[in-house]
């Protein structure tokens, strides 16, 4: 298909055009098959180089279990014998990460750890796995071993792979399931072919796992040689059999190369977030640009979000005018449609630096295109937020009705005017927002009795037509009241908060009464929200199921404000907003920790310190958010039974720590010894436990 004016992002797509250059495609089907770094090979040699190059991307240090995100997953599986397929994040490619993994690692086991080990609740008793790969190097050089079981180093590779039953894909690729030759189930077969006559031409390609690399030739167009996996329940023993039998020496051989590569990748990755501000510019002053410049700018975006109908009609795009977008939507629709037969929808693919993730919701296709290294599931969460936003404007009922009646419906008609909210969400997701990453809400820190007082005022003033009452300040929760039998779902609230604070629609005083669907609460119908910013940045929201309740809610609001005023609560909230978030140095004097995110799983809330002083600039903040995103990916890989992930990079040392009750991600300056970082992380957890009822809304007020 020809997309004449588009390049780059649509490069993938363009490759089907009559260009005679051969290109390599990598289509990734199935959830969570993380693609390796670049997939675009040049010429026919791309078949093998693609696999070979990204392999030695990780270097390991020498801890008892020198493993790293992906490897850690493998180890965890080995011990727990659970889990099936690997959703490896593939995001930390290029890190020189060293990390502690899984319950079995002792965080104090660092060889050069001077001083007595501090007691920490970080780990269960150490337990060695396969006797640890020997480190044997000076303390100055912590990087020892290259291990990445999932991306084969070049020298290991194809001989084994070629014994696979399916000669096409079937081996192990970056972030995909390891496959043993015995796994006949994983045999692949062409599922879709644009030009059947050409399918066999390239079937000799031996490539990795579920990721398939198909060299493009003019006559071949888009094809998929994606293997069909009958059952997600892979033979774990079989997988591990292969992994564990690999000769470790083979892995270490590629060490030098790996180190150079990983360093280079880290640099590239940093370049990602360090590009000029213009590239991150979220504004749309494109009028003065020429057509070509506009397209150039459109292409250069780090991240795109698209919503289209199943007919290929555009519904929403963050960037680009209609001309650019509508052609692109046609192409996207076509690609998605190729894979629809056989109930095996396309979920993601990678083209060049960009990862395309697709979420299909009935007649709506949501597509995220990102070069920022998110995992599939992270992008999918973001797409789900956008979908939720569409539903909150229209309800599921309306969306399915219009499309079931007319597939050619132009949904923009009904969305008209609410794009600002989608823009607000998109921008937040391009910037990187902890609340979306963690799927949780943030509260304003305040004394327990102050919050209780506000709760009680809300409870006292409520009427029968009130469903939920909320006080929200600066995008953070102050108080929530709800009926006992109805909970409030974090995505609904996130959406609501985003609507209130990202657009100017509701800000600036005045009263608003708007129908709104809270999709996780009930996607089928509207509730009605009374919204009033009674102070700049402080909103009172009263949600009622009754359409006619405006005056009633207005009265409730008058009462609430009156009583809050008398109780002196308003200045307290204002003060809390003005003070902003706490500083890490408030918690621990002279702490090495520059920033952290702490998610309380039971409360579905998180807390974090101010971005000042270390991450005040937008650049620093973006870099921090990318780092968090990677840490998050590492500990959330599908079968990463990973508890602690330690990552050392040029600019920072960071730690992700997951327990059944909380997740902690913290970042310290470069060169921080990990025992110090761990100690301070423990102190933070202790502090949060002590302050829990101030930092979080625990239980909440119900009626």
């Amino acid at each position: 298909m020809v997309v004449t004016p588009l390049k780059d992002i649509s490069d993938s797509v363009n490759s089907t055009l009559s260009t005679s250059a051969e290109r390599t495609w990598k289509l990734v089907k199935g959830d969570g098959t993380g693609p390796g770094p670049s997939t675009q090979g040049e010429g026919s040699s791309g078949d093998t180089t693609d696999m070979a190059v990204p392999a030695p991307e990780r270097t390991e240090n020498t801890l008892p279990v020198p493993s790293e995100d992906v490897d850690a997953a493998a180890v965890a599986v080995a011990v727990a014998a659970g889990g099936s397929s690997h959703d490896t994040s593939a995001t930390t490619t290029g890190d020189t990460t060293q990390e502690y993994t899984d319950p079995n690692t002792n965080i104090e086991a660092e060889p050069d750890d001077d001083g007595p080990p501090t007691p920490r609740p970080l780990q269960p008793p150490p337990q060695t796995i396969s006797g640890a790969i020997e480190s044997g190097s000076g303390a100055a050089e912590p990087i020892q071993i290259t291990e990445d079981y999932f991306t084969r180093p070049p020298h290991l590779d194809l001989s084994g792979a070629s014994t696979l039953k399916g000669t096409d894909p079937g081996t192990v690729g970056a972030g995909s399931c390891p496959v043993t030759p015995s796994l006949e189930r994983l045999q692949s077969k062409p599922t879709t072919a644009l030009s059947l006559s050409q399918v066999h031409a390239n079937s000799g390609v031996v490539s990795s796992g579920v990721s398939v690399i198909v060299p493009y030739t003019e006559s071949s167009s888009i094809r998929s040689l994606v293997p069909t996996i009958d059952s997600g329940d892979n033979d774990v023993a079989g997988m591990l059999g292969e992994i564990l039998n690999e000769d470790n020496v083979a892995f270490t051989a590629g060490f030098g190369q790996a180190w150079a590569l990983s360093k280079q990748m880290e640099e590239e990755e940093e370049a990602l977030v360090e590009d000029s501000d213009e590239e991150w510019d979220e504004s749309d002053n494109e009028e003065e640009l020429s057509e070509d410049e506009r397209i150039e700018k459109w292409r250069s975006r780090k991240k795109h979000f698209f919503i289209l109908s199943s007919a290929g009609k555009p519904v929403y795009s963050r960037y680009g005018d209609e001309t650019v977008v509508s052609q692109f939507m046609g192409v996207i629709q076509t690609i998605i449609s190729f894979f629809q037969e056989g109930n095996d929808p396309l979920k993601s693919f990678t083209a060049g630096k960009h990862k395309f993730t697709i979420l299909q919701e009935g007649h709506l296709y949501l597509v995220g295109v990102s070069s920022l290294g998110e995992t599939d599931s992270q992008l999918r969460t973001q797409l789900d937020m956008l979908y939720t936003q569409v539903l909150s404007t229209l309800t599921f009922t309306t969306v399915s009705k219009v499309f079931s009646e007319r597939e050619n419906f132009d949904l923009r008609r009904l969305l008209g005017g609410t794009e600002v909210f989608l823009d607000g969400l998109s921008d937040a997701m391009v910037r990187g927002e902890p609340n979306i990453l963690l799927g949780s809400l943030e509260c304003v820190k305040m004394r327990k009795h102050v919050r209780e007082k506000i709760n009680n005022i809300l409870l006292k003033c409520r009427t029968n037509n009130l469903l939920y009452g909320l006080v929200i300040a600066d995008g953070r929760l102050v108080s929530v009241i709800r009926p006992k039998r109805h909970s409030l779902h974090p995505p609904d609230l996130q959406l609501f908060i985003s609507m209130l604070f990202s657009a100017s629609t509701f800000k600036g005083g005045g009263e608003h009464w708007t129908p709104i669907c809270l999709p996780k609460f009930n996607a089928k119908g509207f509730l009605h929200a009374y919204i009033c910013f009674f102070q700049p940045e402080i909103a009172l929201v009263l949600i009622s199921p009754t359409r006619e309740a405006f005056f009633e809610m207005k009265e409730v609001k008058d009462n609430i404000i009156d009583q809050l005023d008398r109780a002196g609560s308003i200045p307290i909230i204002e003060g809390a907003v003005k003070r902003g978030r706490y500083l890490t140095s408030d918690l621990i004097d002279g702490t090495v920790i520059q920033h952290f995110l702490y998610k309380s799983k039971s409360n579905v809330q998180f807390t974090m310190p101010s971005f000042d002083p270390h991450f005040s600039s937008p650049h620093a903040r973006r870099r921090l958010m990318v780092l968090y995103q990677r840490l998050h990916a590492a500990v959330h890989a599908k079968s990463a039974h990973l508890k602690v992930h330690h990552s050392i990079r040029r600019r920072s040392v960071s730690l992700a720590w997951v327990t059944p009750t909380f997740e902690l991600y913290c970042v310290a300056g470069a060169g921080t010894p990990r025992n110090v970082l761990a100690k301070h992380a423990n102190s933070i957890v202790g502090w949060i436990k002590r302050e829990e009822e101030r930092l979080f809304i625990v239980g909440g007020a119900t009626f």
Binding site: M1, V2, V3, T16, S18, A193, L194, S195, L196, S197, E218, I222, S309, S310, A311, G312, K313, E322, T323, S326, Q327, M329, G330, V331, T334, S337, F338, T397, T398, E405, R406, E407, N408, F409, D410, R412, R413, G416, L477, V480, P483, R485, H486, S487, H489, P490, D492, L493, C517, K520, N522, K524, G525, F526, L527, P545, V604, Q605, F696, I697
Partner: protein
């Protein structure tokens, strides 16, 4: 209604290989013609903004490959179209004879709600080649269009830009009419009120 966003119309061009579908589209959108033949692979997309009776509309033109081997794309391409353009080569008997099967194929794959009123436009292309080589008489083509429910018919030359603009104007008009055939009435409200008593979601947050 003038504040409403401009409408996007999906237009599909169908016809045998080599009848000039891509050339027609290129002539219309880019005002260009290339004599060299380059088969379309899969599908091409072009977009053009046009005014139809003071309404600004965007035409999203889906140009398909005529070769048999791309037929499997069917449903994906045809779904949700607002108008279908059937193109044949007036100098090629067979390309005219297959028009009917292209039309049937479209109706089966796209299954528009009202097949009888779905807008098709028929174009006989390559009239520049010359009368002596012409194999499909205008009369025969008109009779075909008549029999299929009075389909609009145009004879064009993508090469010499004859009648292309006019044909697409009619295409846009019919597509717009189709798109607006059933206005969404927007019965928000009564049917979409939430009964909070019946619903109980408690898998969410505890706050």
């Amino acid at each position: 209604m003038s504040s409403r966003k401009k409408v996007l119309l999906k237009v599909i061009i169908l016809g045998d290989s080599g009848v000039g579908k891509t050339s027609l589209m290129n002539q219309y959108v880019n005002k260009k013609f290339s004599a060299s033949y380059k088969a379309t692979i899969g599908a091409d997309f072009l977009t053009k903004e046009v005014l139809v009776d003071d309404r600004l509309v965007t035409m999203q033109i889906w140009d398909t490959a005529g070769q048999e081997r791309f037929q499997s794309l069917g449903v994906a391409f045809y779904r949700g179209a607002d108008c279908c353009v059937l193109v044949y080569d007036v100098n090629n008997q067979k390309s005219f004879e297959t028009l009917d099967s292209w039309r049937d194929e479209f109706l089966i794959q796209a299954s528009p709600r009202d097949a009888d009123s779905f807008p098709f436009v028929v174009i006989g292309n390559k009239i520049d080649v010359g009368d002596n080589k012409r194999l499909v008489p205008q009369k025969r083509a008109m009779a075909f269009c008549q029999s299929k429910g009075n389909l609009p018919y145009f004879e064009t030359s993508a090469k010499e830009a004859i009648n292309v603009e006019q044909a697409f104007e009619v295409i846009a008009r019919h597509a717009l009419a189709q798109e607006e055939a059933e206005e969404y009435t927007g019965d928000f409200g009564s049917s979409t009120i939430v009964d909070i008593g019946a619903d109980s979601g408690d898998d969410g947050c505890a706050c």
